[in-house]
Symmetry: D2
């Protein structure tokens, strides 16, 4: 499927502040960016700090005063196999070296705390079946509700609170999978059919020999995710990090399905 | 300086369990490994999941029953400039892409929480001067004391408790530096002159265009650190991660200075 | 000084819900309630669960639908000695039995965590001098700022965040005093001259043989506080606890100084 | 049933330190203290700070050097009705005023965090049935295991960790009951048949018009508990609080059933 994704952000910066954007479509094997533009007004030099391992694209610039950022891209999402059931567990010694870090606890996913719970609750399962059971359990026991969580909320908080938003569902999925020795990480994405339109946060797990996107919220189809940033948790994938002070003036994200060009 | 480092560990594994070792000397520009051996008894196949970016060496194997691990190496530590004063701050857009992740909060270093404190306490300083002021402040306000902290202790806990061990001092250094927009990470090392002999945990900060090891505990000279693992915090640099259950039977680390070979 | 205090609250209750009000002026030796009225519309039976030890007044009723609560009272605040300097420390064995509970950690004031800090920072001082030093230290190192804290914020969070509102300043004062073995508790009050008008949260410490109100925010004079609830921390002194669900429609608190009646 | 309870403690105090003991049998309607002695060696004056509401007995004295404390008592435990099923829920407006504080969150029992979980898991039940369901659920999902928890562990930690000791089981029971608007508190007790012999921590809930002891660990019969201290949680019921520094030299608690005197 082909998508046109857009972000249109306007911020007011009190003084000059370095700003890092993580809102461009990632360059990964599971999607192809056919065209894109990133326009910052007023124009400023953009440094690229792209991550060559995850394909995450990072633009850094010095912002000042009113600043408008517009990103527009046409991206093709290649077929994703959403069926976890077929995916075998991967032993640690067969993991690619770069997946090891996603086994460890992180800012919002203190996975070391959940080992006993995971063992008690999902102990008899392996690989994709285990991940699916975790997703089902979260879906059955947690409310999707705005206002319960905030920027400090960890997977431990959410486990107790029994409610949260996409970010919290992703964090809990990640924490429980890592506690089961399954590499798991956070991904931000433009999400087709998500209502209201916004950047979405989902989890990605390494089973059956490759990374697979999963979404415990079930609010948007996996095939309609245009991935942006990849990291250990929300600390890594914020679409905008301002190393200074700024105020939001306006902000909109959108995604719509488009027809592939003839022969596309 | 040249060093001979040794680790000698014996564990009893209840059942077969994958085990990851992070205790070999890293392959980094600031040290040269002249000879080394890693012997696991009984012998098992070792998978290598080395990290090509940090030079961290990871050995993974399937352990069972009584298992003895002996590492022995001769390592030359190249000159390290411990003088932070000369080191300028690096703007985010001039950072190497792979340092960006070390600006973000992690399991034990929730740096987002310390921004106001850092701004109030160290606001007028930059770069290496700021790092030095942070190290001095920690040294003046915190007790090195065993028993106050444990495996769950975060930099936030330590900031309140006002005491901890090397790992806690490193975490607090890292959290405060990141809150000041200085990339900071955790490093484990064989530490010459450390009493009692043990693996040491220190911090590493990116100022003046390169990574620099720093140690708020002042318990071992920087020049005598043979670095092993590199990560966001203690969650990444444990010398042994057992994906299963085992009991420690015996454990010893040592480091001694050795004479370079003639012409070495 | 005499004051007229008023609270005027309107809530919409989804279904019938028990509701506890802690907004009437307390019956304590340091103030006299000369007249008062509590009117709930529509009229409902009110159960009184007043606390005979602290003088805190609690009204409990079953609310349903739209409910308006109006409290109006004339209260005389008797002279309060704000000078802490003259107040000696009280040894534990000389404390009144009912003050002992205010030495212990509570929901938002985990005072056990602050012992080393208090000893390092204020170790040479005693009694009222120690409390004054704590108040001064908080005033110098913390910003009064709305939006940093929320209903989950503890004194430990505030100690790290270096900012908060009256409730947070009170919690930190309480936690540090208890860590110094000084009984300390939380008090809600109508606060003369507080801008904007609202119920205020302050601390109360037991030194020099009696309880003394203190306010690290310095936003309202101690002599102008009409005390309402008394407890270990904010968990105990919420002006309204709804055992069910309701939405705020309107809410206003006020206090103005009034002339005592002739001969009053 | 009649019991002989004993505590025999020896501590070494570095300097003079006030010490509060909560290890004498409480004076409550559900037990009768027929004889008792508290001997401190060397002899010191003992101040009594007994709590007249809970019947908790507190002895405070100034200790120095080696100090031995021996308590010996014969206590009759009156019949306790362990059947929760018959106990109706009590509406807040029918609660005795002194039970209100046990509805609120405390140091180790942040009950405000568990409201949604309790509502989802136990929502259809009331009063004693709800308490019993909470006890059963804890028994089924948590391991009694030493070493998982420590003095900082809260009910929230335990809820995640899925393991703990008696204190943790009591805290979780208390937190969940309060979240269900049932007053709940912590009680320390000499516990007949507890192995190994030690002071035990249990919970007490207010249903069916009176306080009832409950024990999610099921490690000792309710009828064999000789109650000592009563408080919001472990912060209030420590058997010994030292306002200074001391080291444990020896410590033993015991309880044995004794024959009532003829005619007793």
């Amino acid at each position: 499927m082909w998508f046109n994704v857009k972000a249109d952000l306007t911020y007011d910066f009190a003084g000059p502040a370095e700003t890092m954007l993580l809102l461009e479509a990632a360059r990964t094997p599971d999607q192809a960016v056919h065209s894109e533009s990133l326009v910052i007004t007023p124009e400023v030099p953009i440094a690229r700090l792209d991550d060559s391992v995850t394909g995450e694209r990072r633009a850094v610039f010095l912002a000042e005063g009113r600043c408008r950022i517009v990103y527009d891209a046409v991206v093709e999402v290649l077929a994703r196999d959403a069926n976890l059931r077929s995916a075998a567990a991967v032993s640690v010694r067969d993991l690619p070296a770069e997946t090891v870090r996603y086994l460890m606890g992180s800012r919002y996913c203190p996975s070391d705390r959940f080992e006993r719970f995971v063992d008690r609750q999902f102990g008899g399962l392996q690989g994709g079946d285990k991940v699916q059971a975790i997703l089902d359990w979260i879906g059955a026991h947690f409310d999707y509700e705005i206002g319960v969580s905030d920027a400090l909320t960890t997977a431990m908080d959410t486990f107790v609170d029994r409610a949260g938003v996409c970010r919290d569902f992703a964090h809990l999925t990640i924490a429980l999978c890592r506690a089961a020795d399954i590499p798991a990480r956070a991904v931000s994405a433009y999400a087709w059919k998500l209502r209201p339109a916004d950047l979405h946060a989902v989890a990605e797990v390494y089973v059956g020999g490759r990374w697979r996107l999963v979404d415990a919220t079930c609010k948007a189809p996996i095939d309609g995710l245009v991935r942006v940033a990849t990291g250990r948790d929300a600390a890594d994938i914020a679409f905008m990090t301002i190393f200074g002070k700024a105020e939001l003036a306006a902000q909109a994200f959108s995604i719509r399905r488009v027809r592939p060009p003839a022969g596309g």
